[in-house]
Assembly symmetry: C2
Homo-oligomer: 507 residues x 2
């Protein structure tokens, strides 16, 4: 008996490895498409993507896969299988169920709709006209609702969508933490708006040559502990990080010669994602567990680096001279305090991806409430521009002047990625919880930043998070590290401390 | 009946397209490995390569493939199938036979031996010690001889190996043209050696900044008709061109800041390969016919561009000012005639890849004679260093001072690529035949080069060669264009004309 099940375990792992190989090839193709693949080769490359993807899909829903899942999840073998195998089977089962429950014809229709809808969204955004996009979005929503009936749900239909990006997170949990965040952040934003101690930000917009920004980005990546033997830095329109395997995790950034912050903070943010993927245990290579456990935990890593390191005063005390080396004229008359206040300026804005650390979560809550409303039949697609604008007024005190700056700004809904947005806010909350826990183990955190010794921080994150890949669920990780569940109070405390100081408010 | 066979035709083409998709993904992976893939990701990337390659291998030797071949080659369907389908089936059959005739166990052993042997070759070359490599080469030769018995042969065992790279070319043909070439080239090389009119080449070695060389390379590629919407230029240790599909054909080059010729002539050479792949008929995309028809014809295109364009006086008359823009100081006191003579300097050398246009073929003949001797049991592996050095003395009048500069210089034998070398010399011969034929259609060839209008040349090559991909065999192409078979006299005439002029010899 042992031999048979052990043999099946090995066959299953080989099977999964093959799927992983196809995914790795696809990952490289996507990276290449964004970093300079010749445009006339695209049509044929799309065929390659289609064939490889459908091979992965077929393997994930095959009868072979069904047999592996049935045999390897049977209770009698529980003790004979490795922990990695069991979690891998669970991951495969989740994907199998998700894919198998939708009739093949409907799935195909949805995939075609996705790509059409994304194209229409782009046109609608350019024309700033929601009505162009509306019928497609209605169809996408309608089909997603139908999928939810196939998949089933617990307590709230929207939970099924949340679970795809952040397993374990539910509407109940989010309602509570988002409410708490809103209650605390909205007044703070208001006080800042009224503050007369606004930072001077003029010097941020001086001309900073691209080549110099690139050299500085490379230097900073190295200082953060990014391993260039396991990665490379390229330039793209939209910065991203992609982990092909832990030994090949690439980052990209974008250079704005009139605002160096785009590249620097973009690079630091992607470095956070990349460090996660570079430091996953090599034991997980070739399994679907060899990646970040969720969108939210991934975002917690990028935001940890971007905010708790990149926008931290101590970090810049240690790096201000380096910055001046690359742009001496720009910063010669700027003090470190002025610099720190300028890069942390906060004000309500219309565009999510340009939002600052304080107001960002409000943008997410708006989207969360809208998505929740849609899937609980409380909001209709046709009313979205109106609902959107009302919520922006309510949360941020500003109203979009057109659809492009409002309801059409994000790509997510055009391909049906409902349930994704909350991960961004969760990333902030997790990051603040982690930072708090880290301080118990690394009380001299600020000194490390000031002397530029970031190794202990990376090691702490590797030990507590990175190494596990998908072996632990998001809330399992947070519980093991902090002893508690999702808790927004650490983020709130951090934001109050930081912004009351920057805007010189009385506590 | 028609319906059934037409349906099978479509299924076969889909099957072949899938194999093509895997090969395209592999092509991108190889390109990426050489252009900056992080080294720590290599181990896992090798797994991906292994899995994708073995999938292609499996598909090429499957029972399904056998059935397609059997059904689609039966005489009764000859008129119902398209020409493309029939040639595709023939190509698949060739591969099927080649792979199926070797017992799986032996094939596997050979693949492992290849990679070991290549690693040992590298060490042996570094140590300049043939004896380290000898046992591996003996095993490679022994297994290849066994494979020839599986594959069968006509007239000469070496023909089977030649046929893998240059279908239709045999020992009989090569003996004749190589003999002719040797008889004519060796005395010319000798006369040049004795000539007192040696070109001054000192100015070639001035410092030419890499960034400037890159800009010049881009400019020249554009002038040659290389389509940047279907390609890109990168930097690698060993320059190459790779056609992923006709809309994505990438070239690389290498920059030597103390010898600009490496980059410029390397780029022009690779452009010749790339123009071939960029201009294959789109009707062949997704079939194995969508690539150059043979190594020799491919090389004829790169050598046509490198020598008949890149080392041509008229071309530089049209481009000398451009060159001076990028390196004004280096060429300010150089006349176009001096420049032309310098870039065409000829002298016997030990290293094939550094050889000039005139002596290159001699390096190839030495390798050809050795390979032919090995597979006809006339030369033993253990005697190779001795045989090699004797032949270098005989053909080029120089003797390697060690194995690294002699018998160990090329990678080809380490992975068993016997039969490949002759393609390089065939490329020269074909190119001269094509040039001769082209002059009938484009009598103002030299003027076109001088004014920089290379379009008619590219179009002629596309019309006569590029578009066909693998639809025509090498000698079929040559026959259709020139009306004759392989003929070395055009190359000989060209070399005499050119070098007697450069070295100011009496005819």
């Amino acid at each position: 008996m042992v031999t048979a099940i052990k043999q099946m375990e090995q066959e299953f792992l080989d099977y999964v490895k093959k799927m992983g190989a196809y995914k790795e090839a696809l990952g490289l193709i996507y990276w290449d498409l964004r970093t300079g693949a010749p445009k006339k080769g695209m049509e044929q490359r799309s065929e390659v993507i289609g064939l490889l993807s459908s091979e992965v899909f077929k393997m994930s829903t095959s009868e072979e896969m069904a047999a592996y899942i049935a045999n390897l999840t049977s209770v009698e073998h529980d003790l004979e299988l490795s922990e990695i195998t069991k979690k891998t089977v669970a991951e495969c089962k989740k994907e199998y169920d998700r894919n198998k429950k939708i009739p093949a014809e409907e799935y195909k229709e949805f995939v075609i709709l996705q790509s059409k809808s994304e194209a229409v969204w782009e046109e609608a955004k350019d024309a700033s006209d929601f009505s162009m996009f509306q019928p497609y979005l209605e169809k996408i929503v309608e089909m997603t609702k139908k999928f939810i009936t196939y998949w089933g749900y617990t307590e709230n239909k929207y939970n099924t969508l949340l679970d795809m990006y952040e397993p374990g997170i539910t509407v109940n949990i989010l309602d509570q933490v988002f409410c708490e965040l809103q209650e605390k952040i909205v007044p703070l934003v208001q006080r800042i708006k009224e503050s007369e101690k606004k930072p001077n930000t003029q010097f941020l917009y001086h001309h900073f040559p691209k080549e110099k920004q690139r050299e500085l980005s490379l230097e900073i990546l190295k200082n953060l502990g990014y391993d260039f033997d396991s990665g490379r830095l390229d330039e793209t329109v939209h910065p991203f990080a992609t982990g092909l395997n832990p030994g090949d995790v690439r980052v990209t950034t974008k250079y704005d010669e009139n605002d160096f912050r785009t590249a620097i903070f973009g690079t630091v943010h992607e470095a956070g994602h990349a460090l996660y993927e570079q430091n996953i245990s090599s034991a997980l290579i070739g399994t679907p567990l060899c990646t970040g456990t969720s969108m939210g935990i991934h975002e917690s890593q990028s935001l940890f680096y971007e905010n708790f390191i990149g926008r931290n005063l101590s970090f810049w005390k240690g790096n201000f001279d380096l910055l001046k080396e690359y742009a001496p004229a720009q910063f010669q008359d700027v003090t470190i305090e002025q610099f720190y206040r300028a890069i942390n300026e906060s004000k309500p804005s219309l565009i999510r991806i340009e939002a600052d650390e304080l107001t960002y979560a409000l943008h997410i809550m708006i989207r969360y409430e809208i998505e929740k409303g849609i899937f609980n039949d409380e909001i209709e697609v046709k009313d979205l521009p109106k609902v959107w604008n009302e919520k922006y007024e309510q949360y941020l005190g500003i109203t979009p002047h057109n659809d492009a700056n409002g309801v059409l700004q994000d790509v997510h809904w055009s391909d049906g990625s409902f349930g994704y947005f909350p991960s961004y806010a969760l990333g902030y909350i997790y990051a603040a919880q982690l930072k708090h826990a880290m301080l118990s183990d690394i009380p001299h955190y600020e000194q490390l930043l000031e002397v530029g010794n970031l190794l202990p921080i990376k090691e702490w994150l590797t030990k507590n998070i990175h190494q596990y890949g998908k072996m632990k669920l998001p809330l399992e990780l947070i519980k093991d590290i902090t002893g508690e569940g999702l808790n927004a109070s650490y983020l709130i405390d951090y934001l109050y401390d930081k912004y009351e100081r920057i805007y010189e408010m009385k506590k």
